[in-house]
């Protein structure tokens, strides 16, 4: 099986488990799967998103007022967007 994308719930005590959605294997910045881009909340620059090995989740480059910094890519309701290998 390929890579599976899922939403990693921030409040597992309230929202236990994960929701599998779709899968591809693109991980380079700017070439993220359409499904990931579709999940991401619109305030984020998805063209800068990339998958980080440290947590298996997508991060994007946020142009903050003091520094550019990587932040977790999130859904509209604030959940990080991650991947997992089966």
């Amino acid at each position: 099986m390929g890579r599976k994308f899922f939403n990693s719930f921030v409040l597992p005590a309230i929202l236990s488990g994960c929701t599998a959605v779709v899968g591809t294997e693109d991980t380079e910045p700017g070439t993220i799967p359409e499904q990931v881009a579709a999940l991401a909340a619109p305030y984020q620059n998805v063209s800068t998103a990339r998958l980080l090995p440290r947590d298996g989740c997508y991060w994007y480059l946020h142009q903050g007022p003091v520094e550019p910094t990587l932040l977790p890519l999130r859904t509209i309701d604030g959940r990080p967007i991650c991947s997992a290998r089966e």
Binding site: A41, P42, Y43, H62, G64, P65, V66, E67, T69, L71
Partner: protein
Amino acid sequence: MIALGKKGLTRRHFIVTASALFSPPVAGPLLADTWPSEAQKSAWDAEVTPPFFDLETSNPWGLDPRFLPQRVVARAGLVPGNIHVDAIARYLYHIEDGGTAMRYGVAIARGNLYEPGTYTIRRKVRWPHWTPTRSMIERDPELYADVEDGMEPGPENPLGSRALYLYVGERDTYLRIHGSPEPRSIGGRASSGCVRMVNAHMIALYPLVETGVTAYLHPPEDYVSAQS
């Protein structure tokens, strides 16, 4: 949702619950009127500071590592001494000489209670009092009625170890940058208007911030969405 009846609600239960949900601004006259001694303040400092504390690595709170304090390269042109709160990232930056800034993880206010803007820090307090504002009591009477006269300073006080008071001109906005007894809220949106930090981090930041400096509270993600 939390449903708390007033009957059977102990003061300690209230404190834990309220501080978990709300990190509030401070209201006017304080009826909580004890003032801790320097020895008491030092004892509380020790109580909220982990053993062998290292600002950039100690993490008994289980914070995501990105919320631990670290020095970063700052954009050119920022004024040393000023504070910037990046509400999207949940970072507070204290701009330093030499083009760097110290970055700390924070929690910001729930929903539209966060108030982006430009403020002046006109007052600093170690181990401050706290009193809920009238609007907070009206919004959540079951939580605040028992402490409407204020809370004494201490490790369970919602303002925590230190508070920086944000003004617009000469007007106190009741917004604060402060320590919190709820470090696990860092990274989220928890308070009623203030910017929360880990108590031990706030103790480190506090002496570096001078009154008169500017604090910029930058817009959060939903503000950006609403404007786009």
